[in-house]
Subunit: 229 residues, 2 copies
DNA sequence: ACAAAAGTGTTTTCACTACACCCATGA
DNA sequence: TCATGGGTGTAGTGAAAACACTTTTGT
């Protein structure tokens, strides 16, 4: 006996992406103005539909790349949203992914999408469908992840100052941190390389630049190291 | 302009359930022997397909109820698995849910499914498709949740002893805990009611029974209390 | 010389860990 | 009376939090 799959309902499976960015000040998300019905003209996450011959991770990468031109971006599956009437036009299920990108380094690559815009999380507009809930869930996942994995660096340029890193963590966790405690905690992790180079942009004295040492981090992981902030 | 949803691929969306139970000794999962092709005769999670007019949570509840008769069970969405050839018979996506049930109290309700069986996690058989990966992910989610939410109580009878609770945490976290430290940590949480009643089954002295005080817990939550073990 | 941001240590506090003996009871 | 599991407290250790002054340099 073969189970009769053919009797079962098939559905459209969408993928929506919450794209986080950081400009040194605020945590931001990238939104687009929808240029088709339903909800034309309202702000929305970028999204698309899963194709039969790809898996969800691939679909998310494709959709992100298609709308932003970006490649090689940190992405993670978040949750699958399935309220029956979530899309008034048609029964769709949506698997949400979130992505972390460094705004500064990729600023010029966005020219092909005139309708997209970065919003500070705090004053982002209302979104279509259940996209607000998706963003909420993404934010809380991001909080958790940054405490337990070094994914924060995905949001920063390759070289960054300790203060930028602290600002990033403060934006994500939405709380003030103590400068000395933060610095010594990060230094204790021993996964950054302190460069000879200084960033002279923000002060007369200048502040040292750091990079994330992925190789060292992975080596430490294998030895049982646990990232924790 | 309307986006042309009709050009997009539709897929079968399955729901698979990892059902955890606890018998006072070991953490267990409920599996069924598949009685249809493909993979007939092999062990598998219980599953079914999403129907057009229900959301995933409802589908998971329906599937669990249909195969076990159980109702009012803690369930949580885990992850959506989408490898292209995960089901050799047909392109399906599967959203996994995990459920927590108290084996003792529901032991008799399983009579309608002769092909289902509880397995200790440690010596569970190999499962079909990507179900092993689903179980792995469920176990690690369960570990995290039990540390940060009082969901462990879902796996115990309404009344339980401190030792049962400790055994449960030891099974889930897969490590030995210190009896005195565990007891005082739990007592410090102040979310259990110590009953006058004793369980005389396991010793001559008898051990006090407790129940989870959901009302108190919710009240404390509102006041900013953070559950942490 | 002074303004403005960078950089740096110590003390206190609190949570977590390790650890061992008496109690109550049924047989 | 003794064997069995139940129940309980304290001291020590280590991580996190609180906290302020000196350095550098461009203007």
């Amino acid at each position: 006996m073969l189970n009769d799959y053919s009797k079962e309902d098939k559905v459209l499976l969408a993928v929506d992406c919450i794209i986080f960015g950081f400009d040194g000040e605020d945590l931001k998300i990238l939104l687009i103005k929808r240029d088709f019905e339903p909800e034309k003209g309202k702000w929305s996450l970028i999204g698309g539909f899963l194709k039969k011959e790809e898996n969800l991770d691939k679909a998310a990468i494709r959709i992100l790349n298609h709308l932003t031109g970006l490649d090689n971006i940190y992405m993670e599956q978040l949750y699958t949203f399935s309220k029956v009437d979530r899309d008034p036009a048609e029964r769709t299920i949506s698997t949400a992914y979130y992505a972390l990108i460094d705004i500064e380094s990729h600023n010029n690559e966005f020219t092909n999408v005139e309708t997209s815009k970065w919003f500070s999380l705090k004053n982002a507009p209302d979104l279509i469908f259940d996209h607000n809930r998706m963003v909420e869930r993404a934010v809380s996942r991001l909080k958790y992840r940054t405490k337990t994995k070094p994914i924060g660096f995905e949001l920063l340029p390759e070289k960054f100052t300790m203060l930028q890193l602290q600002n990033l963590y403060e934006s994500i966790l939405n709380e003030k941190l103590d400068k000395r405690n933060f610095t010594s905690k990060i230094n204790a992790l021993d996964i950054l390389i302190k460069l000879k180079e200084k960033d002279m942009g923000s002060s007369k004295k200048g502040s040292y630049l750091y990079t994330f040492d992925a190789e060292k981090y992975n080596k430490k992981l294998k030895e049982g190291f646990v990232f924790k902030i």
